[in-house]
């Protein structure tokens, strides 16, 4: 934790700068090397309204140009919050984007927990200590959890039930709780949580895209949930809206339209592997323990019950209008795969 002296100093020195430039002019990005981080930095580099970017990660983002200052930050270190607060104050950061989340469940659950849940605690500590104006955090609709009593469209008001057996999801719920705690304790900081539907696209990499790349996909016999897939461009557009505007609260960032899981398989020309759930879960868990598959067995519930979210709030108060529907996003993803136009790194995509 930073000292009160630092905090006071930060406020004094930043007051003049804040009057001169609108919010969003000085931005810090944690997880700068994630897909969203690199795309955000690329967009802000081109944006004349943005004057300074601080990229916080363990490696330098490829899209960093002249405005970006790279600061090495490892969120799993216990002193991460202090280092980060110092950087935020020194660079007069107004908007903090917290994007340091894993796209894949890790076999090293303890490390992932330190990075995502505890890392978020450090980030919120630093944001509070440096008194930034705004914190924008990326999240996922998976935090609602796949449950049979979910309504077809979950709104932002629903409890974040997550999936207790999956640490990957629980840590994201933990990060949301840290953000909510910051919002409760510091009314002067605007906090925005963007809950993205599973993101697909030619360049984005995550567990979902990895599963969708397989020629054969597991299917739970008798279950066919409705699904949403957000195109990566729409995810970036929503993130930019949140960084540039004033939107307190949580927002579901979802596309128009839904598809049955069986339709997703058909669209991608996948070979379905139907298994009864009672068999699929232990098989998947065993394979996961042997590090042969991408997801643990309990994660299969996401292919059993739908967790579609309602995007009305983002549409109405953020003005977010998705350009791709679920089907178009998936089509774009599969087309890019088939044509072999998947960019190797993000500098090509941008």
């Amino acid at each position: 934790m930073s000292t009160p002296v630092e905090k006071r100093g930060a406020k004094g020195s930043r007051a003049t700068r804040r009057e001169a430039a609108p919010t969003g002019a000085r931005v810090a990005v944690t997880g700068a090397c994630t897909y969203l981080g690199q795309r955000l930095i690329a967009a802000l580099e081109r944006d004349p309204a943005c004057e300074h970017i601080v990229a916080l990660d363990i490696a330098r983002p490829l899209t960093a140009r002249t405005k970006t200052r790279f600061v090495r930050l490892d969120l799993t270190r216990p002193d991460a919050d202090e280092t980060m607060a110092r950087t935020l104050v020194a660079d007069g950061v107004q908007t903090l984007c917290h994007l340091a989340f894993l796209g894949f469940p890790s076999h090293s659950g303890a490390w992932a927990h330190e990075l995502e849940a505890i890392g978020s605690l450090y980030v919120m500590n630093a944001a509070a200590a440096a008194s930034v104006d705004k914190v924008v955090m990326s999240s996922t609709t998976m935090v609602y959890g796949p449950y049979p009593d979910n309504p077809n469209y979950l709104t932002e008001k629903h409890a974040l039930r997550g999936l207790r057996a999956s640490r990957w999801v629980s840590d994201k719920v933990g990060a949301e709780h840290e953000l909510a705690r910051l919002a409760k304790e510091r009314s002067d900081i605007t906090t925005t949580a963007l809950r993205f539907a599973p993101v697909v696209g030619p360049a984005h990499k995550s567990l979902i895209t990895r599963i969708l790349r397989r020629p054969a996909m597991l299917r739970l016999m008798g279950f066919d949930p409705l699904m949403q897939f957000l195109h990566e461009e729409d995810a970036v557009a929503a993130l930019l809206l949140a960084v540039r505007g004033h939107h307190p609260g949580a927002y579901n960032i979802v596309p128009d339209g839904v598809m049955y899981y069986s339709q997703v398989l058909k669209l991608g020309g996948k070979l379905p592997l139907p298994l009864p759930r009672i068999l699929a879960a232990p098989v998947a868990t065993t394979l996961w323990n042997l590090e042969l598959v991408d997801m643990p067995g309990r994660f299969l519930d996401f292919f059993r019950y739908s967790f579609c979210a309602d995007g009305t709030r983002a549409r109405e108060s953020m003005g977010f209008a998705p350009r791709y529907s679920t089907r178009q996003a998936l089509q774009a993803f599969f087309d890019a795969r088939r044509a072999g136009t998947t960019p190797r790194d993000l500098t090509e995509a941008v």
């Binding site: 049979p148 009593d149 309504p151 077809n152 469209y153 709104t155 016999m221 008798g222 279950f223 066919d224 409705l226 339209g257 839904v258 598809m259 049955y260 069986s262 339709q263 997703v264 398989l265 058909k266 669209l267 019950y305 309602d310 089907r327």
Partner: protein, 344 residues
């Protein structure tokens, strides 16, 4: 290779007439297979089937299948079983092509199995939101399917009702997936509100599991209408309430007992014991061909009360009781007029 010239070393083919061993076989008593009363001949089976068909409208089913042709039946089956990717589903999963593909079969059940008679269909508006409140019965929720079918068949605009179904049905393997494709939606306040705000006609069974799970001796006695959720829904969305009674479904699958202890691990509220159910296995799930009557009553307009009336608990309860009485009186009227369970 077989040489055209006869090889003397090879034995000659055995002559059936002269060979004593073969003669024994030919003399075997074949009367068994040539009896006059040919029980297993295809013709007899065909005749028996035709006779059966004339009885319950099976000929109609055969005609439907015949008209469709084998190729079309296969195509329809594959359409049902294998969802093509390019098919567009509505936000709640209704798949119109699937609906149309299975409709002939459901229609056959409607026309020939239950021989459903419908009155008051004009009370369902041609467009715009409406909340249809019906009694629930019959062990397995086939009554919802029949109300949806009868509305689609008889309504001037062929409206597709969106039925709200209980959790446990919606998440039964296969069953839930089929229901969702056919336009059913899991029953909860959020889903119902979203559907009504999209100006759909929504069918609800406020009795819920209590309705289908009541024993035969309690038939046609309406259970409590939940906690007034349906009324609150109508008030908050300004939808007219259309009472609806279903008579005949109670006897289609009379519930004489329930097994609860085995049901809990299976995730269903009960395992039904019907006259046929545990003894005939899955065949016991075929309902009796009772005659059904579906009557829609006068709409109850609640729009002028305004959405704030939701918070008036006494009013909600009073309206709830009024709707329940309306449905009960529709049932009672029909029961008084009915002479036979099977023939109506």
């Amino acid at each position: 290779m077989v040489s055209p010239v006869e090889d003397p070393s090879q034995p000659k083919p055995r002559d059936r007439a002269r060979d004593p061993e073969l003669a024994d076989l030919t003399d075997a008593p074949f009367e068994l297979f040539e009896s006059e009363r040919d029980v297993l001949s295809l013709r007899a089976i065909g005749e028996a089937l035709q006779a059966a068909g004339r009885m319950t409208g099976l000929d109609e089913l055969v005609r439907i299948l015949d008209e469709m042709g084998a190729a079309k039946v296969r195509a329809a089956l594959s359409r049902i079983l294998f969802q093509p990717a390019e098919r567009v589903v509505d936000p709640f999963g209704l798949d119109v092509e699937f609906y149309e593909a299975v409709f002939p079969l459901v229609r056959w059940i409607h026309d020939h199995w239950f021989r459903i008679e419908t009155t008051g269909i004009e009370h369902i508006p041609d467009a715009g939101r409406a909340l249809i409140v019906a009694n629930h019965s019959g062990t397995i929720p086939i009554d919802g399917l029949m109300v949806v079918t009868t509305a689609h068949l008889n309504h001037a605009q062929g409206r597709r009702l969106r039925a709200l179904v209980e959790n446990f049905v919606y998440h039964m393997p296969w069953v839930g997936a089929l229901f969702a494709r056919g336009g059913a939606v899991r029953a909860c306040q959020e889903n119902a509100t979203a559907l009504l705000e999209a100006d759909e006609a929504v069918l609800v069974f406020p009795e819920g599991v209590k309705g289908i799970g009541k024993l035969y001796k309690k038939r046609y006695r309406l259970q409590r209408f939940g906690r007034g959720g349906a009324i609150k829904l109508a008030l908050s969305t300004g939808s007219p309430i259309i009472p609806c009674s279903i008579v005949g479904a109670e006897e289609a699958m009379p519930l004489i007992g329930k097994v609860s202890w085995l049901a809990r691990p299976l995730g269903i509220p009960y395992i039904p014991v019907t006259p046929l159910m545990p003894f005939l296995g899955p065949l016991g799930l075929i309902p009796f061909p009772t005659k059904w009557f579906i009557d829609f009553g006068e709409p109850i307009e609640v729009g002028e009360l305004g959405p704030d009336a939701v918070h008036d608990r006494v009013l909600v309860n009073r309206l709830n009781e009024r709707v329940r009485r309306e449905v009960q009186s529709l049932i009672d009227k029909r029961l008084a007029a009915r002479k036979s369970v099977i023939f109506g």
